[in-house]
Amino acid sequence: MLITCPYCGPRDVSEFAYQGDGNRTRPDPASTDSEAWNAYVYDRLNPAGIHNEIWQHAGGCRVHLAVVRDTLTHEISSVRFAREHGTPTHSRRNHGAKA
């Protein structure tokens, strides 16, 4: 698998560290909503199909990337800086998990 880092260009997957589901939003730090915290810390979207994920180019520029990738084919359709684009946006309803 190759991931095209917006800074470094296409690099081997071995240079990247997976940071998981990019659809999670961290509750306000002061929030005491335990359900929200539990969902953030423990629950993951795990679609078969298009997935929004966070990867770090740990063996390169070390920047975190918002990656849209198909978990069935491993095809990557978009890579952007997580910092600028925040949590990757991809319509939730549309993650095409047609079982």
């Binding site: 470094c8 081997d12 240079e15 390169g60 070390r62």
Partner: protein
Amino acid sequence: MGEQLSPLEPIFRPGSHGNFVDGVGVTLSEIAPGSIVQLAAWPGEEKKLMAAIGSVTGLKLADGAGAGASSDRYAAFGFAPGKFLVSDASEGLATTFAGKVAAATGTVTDLSHGRTAIRIAGPRSEWVLAKLFAVDFSLPAFSVGSGISTTHHDVFTQIQRSGPDSFDLYVFRSFARSFWKMLCHASDEVGYEVR
């Protein structure tokens, strides 16, 4: 202040090694610059930081990822968004930059002791480096002056192309000895000279 002790010291064996009977494919040397400094700009402040680099080193950096340049004394290249590695044959570069880079522009981090700089030069440099890194070292893909960050397994490495067949590698000092051994091993096949 006193010279730095090289981490390569006990295993640094000048001379020709490996399969050199048909000529030496690469030359390996430790550059040992006096200073290695990391400069990092806040988002939007990159231009100012590049200007500061220019004013201290006289090097003009083009826009774009990995852009870099070098002179007899200095070398500089981008290795991450807004981040640059600058080296100087002399000591004290971090102090100089500390006076030139405003807090609002970015940060200066002295890595003069933390990174070991190794040069590989010669006609088979690309071949030897390709054994270690999953990076396209061909000239069209990796132009003279420019830099990258990459990894050989556990060894994080920043690489600047210092000439058509010459590359400068910056590795963490604690890994330098292991890395050097591996580089020598990889160079055996083409014959190498340590200088």
